[in-house]
Amino acid sequence: MEVNPLNIFFVKSDSKGDRLLFRYPYTTENKDENKQKKCGRHNPYAINSTEDLLQNSQSQTSNICKGQLSGFTDEMLSTLFAVKAELCNRKFELKVNDVRFVGHPTLLPYRTNKDDTAAMILINIVFALQASASHSIVKCYYDLSKRLGKALRHEEKRCSYLTEEMKIMLAAHDEVSALDSEANSGENEDEEDNSRHSVSSTTYSTDNGTPGTVPKSAFHLILQRSSLARSMKAVFEELSSTGIVQVRLNKWVLLSFCLPHKAHQIHNRGLIIEPETIDKCVQKLRPYHGILLMVNPNDLLASIPLDGSPALLRLIKLYSPLKSLQTLAIEADLTLTQAFQLTGHLVYWAKATVIYPLCEGNVYVVAPGANIHINSPLVDEFAKEFPGLCLLQMLSEFSLPAPLWYVSRGAWGARCGGRPARLVAWLLRRRLLLQLHTYVQFNSPHCPHWPRPSALDGKEYFCEKHDSYYQSNSVSFSSLNQVQLNVPEPVEPRESSNTFPDSDEDYPTQNNLNQTDFSHTKPIVIESEHTKYDKFNEVDSANHSFDDGIDVIDGIIKPKVNGCDFDKTQNIQKKAQGNSVDSGISNNINGNSINGTENEHGNGQSDAKDKTEIKSLPSRLSDISLKESDIVINRDTSSDEDKFESDVDVSPMLRNSHAAINGSEKTNGVSLNLKLQSEMSFQSPTVWTAPAGCDAIDACRMPSDPPSTESLLDTFTAEERAVLATIPASEDPSDLLLLAQLHKKGYFRGEQHLEEIMFMENVSRSQLMQLLDKFKDVLITFETEDPAVAMLYPYY
């Protein structure tokens, strides 16, 4: 195992020179080497091959012999590790043949024995590793060496711990070398040189022929006498066994260290997880992910030191594999970012893994790296944990993907007490199961150009709800905005506004601004759009921001709206969910969807006007647009905050589309006017930068040539629309709308799974499944793992 350390060394260098004070393990190979030499000499038939003329073949290529370091005398090592002052307090990395030494030479003030004058001493705690060990392993060992150095410096400063321990070690060395020289005098003249180099590590055992001497090495003595040596031994042994080091130096400084490459093997043999992987995983975490503890939560709580973070304690106390991180964060009163970081922390220490919260609809299959050997210890463990069940049989039931509720209806469902969660958790902990998710791809059979070469990554805009993502998003959005929006002016204020802090006080004034703007624009608006506009106003009427005069029109439209049950329910759901989550998030959600619907308006209109070759669709679309606007109404009246937000968000988009349309059909003066308006109104969305940016992106994604492009159905190409028109399901405007909405947001590109869409868009699974079924001609699905989760599996 290249993860394990080969050896640990403790070297000091001061005014009296350098010395290898301690090493572990110290059972040395010198004896063997000597023996081999002797054997060689005694063998009369051996060819003495020292005179190889072509190549001096004595050169050694390996310093590892049976998993132990070999070929270095202690003196050699101490000269190598006693570095020059220039190399102190930084990484020390030396590779000799196939052994890599890594350490952090620490320079520290130190009190000499006699007087109290401070001198500097260099200590270096070096780990010997196999050279093939990866860089991240080396980095971890370096970190450990650094921490040990720091702890020793602290203890030296506090109570001269190092001085005392070094005194003990030096004394032991002297004692043994004194014994040695006694024993050695007279015999073995020729080997004296050799033994002087390696005296401290030579164990004099029975075959040495001197019955009087005690068979011991200096290191053995040191181990008995010095607590520091014992700590180092503990460090080495814990590293080799579990990878988790919990050592209290001098019964005072607690040194906790985890070598994740090793620690994950406690639970899963052969699973090597690098810290870099964990970092990547944390970056990919989404609020809907959950955690699964590898150990009993109570044990974990008990093992956390007293000064552990209270946030972590709260998280663990509230832990359940059924909860998502978002739920956990809310319950434990943490921010989402905090919850993510704590998750990363738990994963690093091999206390948890990332899962999608357990639920009955989850689809599991046997993981690619699962150990399915019939004699593996897991089989017995499983039988003990779940009497009456057989692991292999269980796995064979998971061989074909099916939702959990379906699988658990089988033979074992009854036997595990109808609670498959515990069983699945057990299997997931051992990485025997892997969850599959369904990804959707829009694939219309007759259009060759559906994959639009877009520079955007779909991932950039689906996460805008979460505060933690705001920053990165805003960057990308801003860059995009400028390129592709038809009305470039308004974009800039939005960009700059991204940096504004959230301040609710700003609303009213800005709303007023909108209002005034609006009154200006009203007369200019084209007739056909007038109605829509009016609807809008009506929506806002509760808000006092828009004119009341248009109520009549609304009155006409309203009944239609209400007639649409689907929309209503959706709306209600959204409200409910939005409320359960913290309000900021819910706001944004609504903002998003509303924007989408608004785009729909423009689209429908433009389509109708343009009289494109598709004749069946436009009329329907206009229907949709009407209904959708009513949804907006419903939403807006739901809560005051929502209203505000939607107003603010909606109007710019609407105006944008107006502007675009007008630009094509009306005079410049009008569009200018609109621009001005929108410019002003754009000031307001400061708080909801992300949704705004999102729209901008979506708008950008559409082909830019026709001026009326910022409409929802334009996310489909003409061919796609033609195909859609042939599908019976598109007769139902609500379905078509949902499809268009989701497609526009890029969910149908095979990059987000259903659960993500459900979470992000607040739609229910059944809704999505219905949609998939209705549009199965253009939506193809495939099932695969969630990369963020699968990352923590072996052989991924």
Binding site: N56, Q58, S59, Q60, E75, M76, T79, L80, V83, K84, E86, L87, R90, F92, E93, L94, K95, V96, N97, H135, S136, H197, V365, V366, P368, A370, N371, I372, H373, I374, C390, L392, Q393, S396, S399, L400, P401, L436, Y439, Q441, N443, S444, P445, H446, C447, P448, W450, P451, P453, S454, A455, R749, G750, I780, T781, F782, E783, T784, E785, P787
Partner: protein, 460 residues
């Protein structure tokens, strides 16, 4: 058996690719280099350190001059000229932003002032770079210099040829990755060999596919970056050869006999056993030949294509949706196979790939998509393509013997063979493996599995 590929042409190819990549802005390049990035870097400097009888360790010659400062050398001299006990081992010290590979040498001879001469020819690289590949070169140089020193005192006499020699060496190794030095009677051929990961074991049932056959983009590579304006050519960085860069394969090149015999038979469907029998080459020989090709990235191994196989999409399948280059190469790969007039339609391809789900065999998919005999393209090629690019993965079937009361079996005449086979049902071997080991065909095995109630099937 070791096959050395003629890599001169490959190198040119690599360079052309690299120069394309090097067009990316230097910012991207910068971020690619960090300690532990695992990339190779150029040699920045070569110097000869020696132990001067009066001055102690010093640099007697270096190129380029003053790259390694006096201070730097002093602080690390313990590793350049180590204690006499340590010699003839490759030592790499990574300190102060430099990574120095050396091979310290001691020559004992009474003609030297201290009866011994210590020297070390070292390569200096950036601290982020990987330097394993230089170790054999440094070692060989050291050994040769030892001989030259012993014969002509070439090193210790402070020869004037040494600086030019080092300059030569640096230039040739950095640009051509090989160098030939002629000094007196000694000729040195040096070559920097790329150190790759150990190749995986090759089994009887593995199927090799030529990587080059699928064209660009290379399997396992991220999509190519969009070129950015204002990109400058990076001076020396282009030497940095992409890891695991597959070699362009030339069928007429000077291959060894086995490879030459095997190459025409590698088509993505023939497994090792079949290759061996088709070419009449010993199986172990075929295996080691293929393993060698795997090492150099010429071929990749995929499981045998059977219509009873199940495949499952991987997250990278979504790349095919968005990567136009990959779509093109997919279509051209498919239309290469059959001389069909019309090209396959992309949406069909995607439909088939997406329907390759766990739980649906390839046969079922084919029946669904090609109900009529007029098949627009070869599905097998599609599956091979998708596997090479990691878009789908093949699921393997593991029969496991579940310990439960043995029930009397009606087929007594086959008991022996069944008992023998059942020993393989441990979860370690998949059905392909078992077929190869037990030398039975798949239907027989299927029947055995089906008839035995104690055997469960795990797809993984």
């Amino acid at each position: 058996m070791q096959v050395y590929l003629d890599s001169a042409s490959d190198l040119e190819h690599d360079n052309s690719i690299d120069s394309k990549i090097a067009l990316m802005s230097s910012k991207i390049m910068e971020t690619r280099y960090y300690e532990g990035c695992g990339r190779e870097g150029p040699i920045r400097c070569i110097f000869l350190g020696e132990f001067h009888p009066v001055a102690g360790p010093k640099i007697s010659c270096q190129f380029p001059d003053d790259y390694v400062s006096k201070e730097l050398f002093d602080s690390i001299s313990a590793y350049i000229i180590p204690k006499p006990q340590i010699q003839k081992c490759t030592m790499t010290i990574n300190a102060l932003g430099h990574k120095i590979v050396g091979y310290p040498i001691r020559i004992e001879n009474s003609r030297y002032e201290r009866n011994m001469y210590l020297f070390n020819l070292c390569f200096v690289c950036d601290s982020w770079s990987k330097t394993v590949q230089y170790e054999p070169v440094v070692k060989k140089l050291g050994e040769h210099l030892t001989i030259m020193e012993e014969e002509t005192r070439f090193v210790s006499s402070g020869s004037t040829k040494l600086p030019t020699l080092l300059a030569h060496l640096l230039h040739d190794l950095n640009t051509h990755r090989k160098a030939t030095l002629v000094e007196g009677d000694t000729v040195m051929h040096l070559k920097v060999l790329e150190v790759r990961k150990d190749p995986i074991a090759v089994h009887d049932f593995d199927v090799p596919v030529l990587v080059a056959s699928v064209g660009l983009p290379r399997p396992g590579r991220p999509p190519r970056m969009v070129l950015q304006e204002g990109s400058e050519q990076i001076s020396q960085e282009h030497l940095d050869i992409e890891d695991e860069e597959p070699f362009e394969i030339d069928m007429d090149a000077d291959w060894d006999l086995t490879t030459r015999q095997l190459l025409p038979h590698i088509n993505g469907y023939n497994h090792i056993s079949k290759l061996a029998s088709d070419t009449n080459v010993e199986k172990t020989l075929v295996k080691s030949c293929i393993q060698n090709l795997v090492y150099y990235g010429v071929v990749v191994l995929i499981p045998v294509l059977k219509f009873s196989n199940m495949y499952r999409a991987t997250p990278s399948l979504s790349r095919l949706f968005s990567d136009v280059e990959m779509q093109k190469s997919c279509i051209s790969f498919l239309s290469n196979g059959c001389e069909n007039k019309e090209k396959p339609v992309l949406s069909d391809i995607l439909g088939i790939l997406c329907s390759l789900q766990q739980g649906t065999t390839l046969r079922a998919v084919c029946e669904r998509f090609f109900p009529s005999p007029g098949v627009p393209f070869d599905v097998r090629r599609l599956v091979v393509f998708a596997q090479i690019h990691g878009l789908v993965k093949c699921l393997k079937r593991y029969p496991v013997y579940v310990r439960s009361p043995v029930r009397p079996n009606s087929f007594n005449q086959r008991v022996d063979s069944m008992m023998g086979i059942r020993r393989l049902f441990t979860g370690k071997h998949n059905v392909d493996e078992i077929c190869c080991l037990a030398r039975i065909d798949m239907p027989t095995l299927d029947q055995i599995i089906e008839e035995d109630p104690n055997v469960a099937i795990i797809w993984r």
